[in-house]
Structures are given as structure tokens and as C-alpha cells.
């Protein structure tokens, strides 16, 4: 990020960054919890799968590694927000389920059985 030299510049830069994030709402937003606990329960390969597979799909997306949502009982967790929909959190996601989330939920809007929050 560019160096901020005065307050006006910060306010401008900050609102620019905010607008950029808001423009993401037209894309599929995928958030994967990547805290110590998530990584220990296997979030690494799940993240890699999304990173490898999503570019092959004909949909615009953003993939965000985040901290933890606090849902230890269901790690690894993946939160998907389809454009115009509420976020949905999938729990106990392994590579196989991650594949289903992409092929069924993201591409076709069909429900996948590991939803723990939302819808």
C-alpha cells in the first residue's frame, strides 16, 4: 500500500479501498478460516483446492484466507457468499466436500449437506 502522508490522503485512500471491497459483491466471495486451529484440522489442502479449481470456473470470485470464525466444532469452515445471497457457512470441509461446494453450490446453487449456518 502507498505511504500515507496526510489525513486527507488517508480518507481518500480509505474510501477507495472500501469501494473496491463493495465492488466485490458482484463476485462469489469465498472465505476460508486459516487460523492455527483451522490449519490443524486440515484447512490447508481445502484452501489449495479452491485456489486451483476456482480459476477454471466461468465465475468471477475472490478467495480470502481469514482468521477463525470461532466454530471450532466444525473446522475446517468455508463461508461462501453468492452474489445477491446471504453468506452460507460450510463445516467440516475436506477436499471432497470442497469439490462439491464448487460444483454444486457455487456453480448450480444447489444445497450441499454440510451447511452449519445460513440459508
Amino acid at each position: 500500500m502507498e505511504r500515507i502522508n496526510n489525513y486527507e490522503q488517508f480518507k481518500k485512500s480509505s474510501s477507495g479501498i472500501k469501494k473496491e471491497r463493495e465492488s466485490n459483491s458482484s463476485k462469489v466471495i469465498i472465505k476460508i478460516a486459516m487460523a492455527t486451529c483451522s490449519i490443524a484440522s486440515g484447512a490447508g489442502p481445502v484452501f489449495d483446492l479452491f485456489k486451483d479449481e476456482m480459476p477454471k470456473q466461468p465465475k468471477e470470485f475472490v478467495l480470502i484466507p481469514t482468521g477463525c470464525l470461532g466454530l471450532c466444532h466444525s473446522e475446517p469452515t468455508v463461508e461462501v457468499t453468492l452474489p445477491g445471497s446471504d453468506p452460507v457457512v460450510f463445516g467440516k470441509v475436506d477436499v471432497k466436500r470442497a469439490g462439491l461446494i464448487i460444483s454444486d453450490y457455487i456453480m448450480k446453487g444447489k444445497t450441499v449437506d454440510c451447511i452449519i449456518e445460513g440459508n
Binding site: M1, E2, R3, I4, N5, N6, Y7, Q9, F10, K11, S13, S14, I17, K18, E20, R21, K31, A33, A35, T36, C37, I39, I64, P65, T66, G67, C68, L69, G70, L71, C72, H73, E79, I116, E117
Partner: protein, 487 residues
Amino acid sequence: MKSKQIKIALRNCGHIDPERIEDYISYDGYAALGRCLFEDTPSSVTDKIKQSGLRGRGGGGFPTGKKWELCAASVSDKKYVICNADEGDPGAFMDRSVLEGDPHSVLEAMAICGYCIGADEGYIYIRAEYPLAIKRLKIAIAQAEEAGLLGDRIMGSDFSFKIRLKYGAGAFVCGEETALIKSMEGNRGEPIMKPPYPAQKGYMGKPTNVNNVETFANVAAILNRGAEWFSSIGTEGSKGTKVFALAGKVKNVGLVEVPMGTTLRELIYEIGGGIKSGKKFKAVQSGGPSGGCLTEKHLDTPIDYESLKAAGSMMGSGGMIVMDEDDCMVAVAKFYLEFIVEESCGKCVPCREGNKVLYNILDKITHGKGELSDLDKLKNFGNIIKSTSLCGLGQTAPNPVLSTLDNFYDEYYDHVVNKKCAAKQCRSLITYRIIEENCVGCGACKRVCPAEAISGELKQKHLIDQETCIKCGACIKKCRFNAIVVE
């Protein structure tokens, strides 16, 4: 799990990429710092924190704004801000989650605190056991410095603030602020007498403000949304929310943030989903090794600093361990005491020797060698340790013993008089026995027994030799015919 939760300290955790400063800025990050530096004065910012009613989230519950004010009033050429990230309670990981998920919120709040008290340097005292949190903090500090949001002349103002990391070696006592400062100075992590408080004479003898990670994580949100908004959440004396690490025998273990005043029942049953495998709730330990065990009758206690204290426990930093009917309360008290004995720094006699005595009595009781007079001794010694120890660690160390004695006296009585452990946890007080009618002589138990304590020919009734049995329970897990019982 979402309902009943309000996320303030955890507002960005799970939503932003902690390794990208832009993500934090896109959710009003560093906006509070900017407003403080260019549109506000240190004393007015401190007033806002005071008005919000924010109290220390590390356990003590001291009003944060008041703490800043005291430190600001100390006259000195140099002052320090310290973030206490020495999270050591067994089963607690609130601070780790904040630092791994939203490190900038802590950095921004430390800079704001520095502006308020007149400090230009901050330290985060963090456990070396948190490598990922350390990595993300380092990235966050580097990004913030590069963007001119930390370091020299922040956003072009006259205010400079640098943040460095100091690693702790994982001693529980170093969570106590004076011991933490000693450790930072390169000395043994031992607490010293207060006063002088760190606000007058802290790190390197200079006025120092120490706040916990979660306390800092609330600051920018308060300044962005207003003190009134924050103080509208919670109870009369405890404002805002508290993060808890819900662990133990509850269905939905995890990290939750609830408004102060939420009851233990709501936390355990509605958010936590109740007790695992249909078992019966027995107790909940809040406040870690310094807290106490609360029971069924306390379930409707609202969670706030005063109510938990009145009920015989404490808020603590946010560990919440739920226990069911299979947990033996004497063994639980012994577990916490063992931790304390290990972690006592050894400086003052009541804590060093007294807790060892308590531990030995509990050990005797769990081995079936306790006497009725031991229960009085536990109470007496416990109260002496509480009133004569030097620091918070010793003053609260007997709490798990005293609270379980109060709430589960019958269970202690059962151990010392009837030599029985109802939860079947104390190995010296239980026996494994084979029910002859159910045993088909399959030999599964015999093969799995590590002590070779089980005898019997194939298709014949088997027998456990009580002398050799080490009561590990391997046989009972293996038996498919319900032919083994614990008594």
C-alpha cells in the same frame, strides 16, 4: 450459534484477510486513529473510553479509561504501552484468535493508547508458543509502518509510535502485569508489590500502561461507533461483550462473543448446544485456574464481573470449561492445583508451599487415603493462601478447591468417608469386574489388557485380577457384551 452473539472484539475475525492491511482498512480500519490524531485530543479520547464503560478483559476488570488517565497523569519523558498477550489459562484461546484473525485492531488501539497517555513506544508481550500469531503480527506491523500508519509521524502528524514484539516463555505468572514487566526487562518473571503501579513506575522504571489483547480489540470499535453505543450493550456495571472459549463437554465447542449479562444457561445451552451425548450437566469452570466451579443452581447467573464473583467464581480472561456427570470434582480441583503448583513462581511462601500442601491433600483424597479432617484443612489453608499471597496468582489459586468444596461437599465426603468416586474417575477408588452371566469368553479383553490382569480360557468365563489391574479401562471399551462394569 450466531444468535445471541454480538461481535465487537471479534468483529473482523473470519471476515478479513489478516495479512492484508487493505482488508482491515476497508472495514474502517485506522479511521479511529486518524480521527484521534487530527480531530480530537488525548484527554477527550480517554474520556470517550471512560464513558464507554470498557473494563479490562484480562480478568481484573479495571476500568480501561481510568487506567489510561492514571498513566497520562504520570509525568515522564518516556512512557510505554504494553499489550498483554500472555494467554496461559488451560483451554483458553481468545487472544490467539484475535491476533491471528485481526492483528491490526490491536496495533491501532495500542497507537491510540500511546496518543492518549503520551507514549511513543509499544510492546506486545506474546507467548513464543503462538508462532502463527507472531508471524501475522510481524506482517501487520511491517505493512502498517510501510503505509505510514505506524512508526514515525503517523499519517503526517506529529505523533510517532513504534510497536515491537517481546516473546514470553509461557509462564502463567507472567500474565500478571508486574511479573510481565520483570520478564520483559530480562529478569525472572516474578511479581512485585503494588503500589507503585505500572502507571507510575513500570517497564524500565517508566510509566507504563498494560492492557490485554481483547481490551485493545474493543477500542477502535468504541471510537468508531461511539461510547454510547458500547455502553448500551451489557449490564449496569459491565458494559459491552465478552469473548469466551467454550470448551469441555459441550456440543458446540468454540469461540463465542456474548453481551455482558447473558446467563450461563444461554451460553451453554443455546449457544453451546447443550451437553454432549445426552449426559447431565454438572459444573462449569470460568476464569481458568483462578476461577471457580459453578453448578446447576448458578446457571441463571448473568455473566458480568460482579455476578460471577458473587457466585464464587470470576470472569477471568474467558476460559469456560463445561463438565458433565463423568467428571469428578475432586480430580478437577486436583488438576487445577497441579497446574498452579507447576506455575507458581516461588517468590512468596503461601503460594509456593501452601498450594503444594493443598495438592498433596487432594492427591491423598483421590487415592482413598483422605480423612474427614482433611476437608477442614483444605478450607483453612485455602483461605490463608488467598489472604496472604503476594499476587493475583496466589490470591486466586485456591478458588477451584474452595468452590468445589462449597458446591460439591458430598462428593468430597464420599471420597474420604465411603472411599467412593461417583464419577468413576479416581482409579484407587474403583474396581473393574466381569459379570459372569454376560461373559462369552471371547478373549477380547484379555488380549487388550496391557497389564495381563485378565485370565480365562477361550469360551470360558474370564476374571480380572484386582491386584494386577491398573484400571486403565481398555477392557471395558473392547467388550462387546456389556460384561464388564466399573464400581
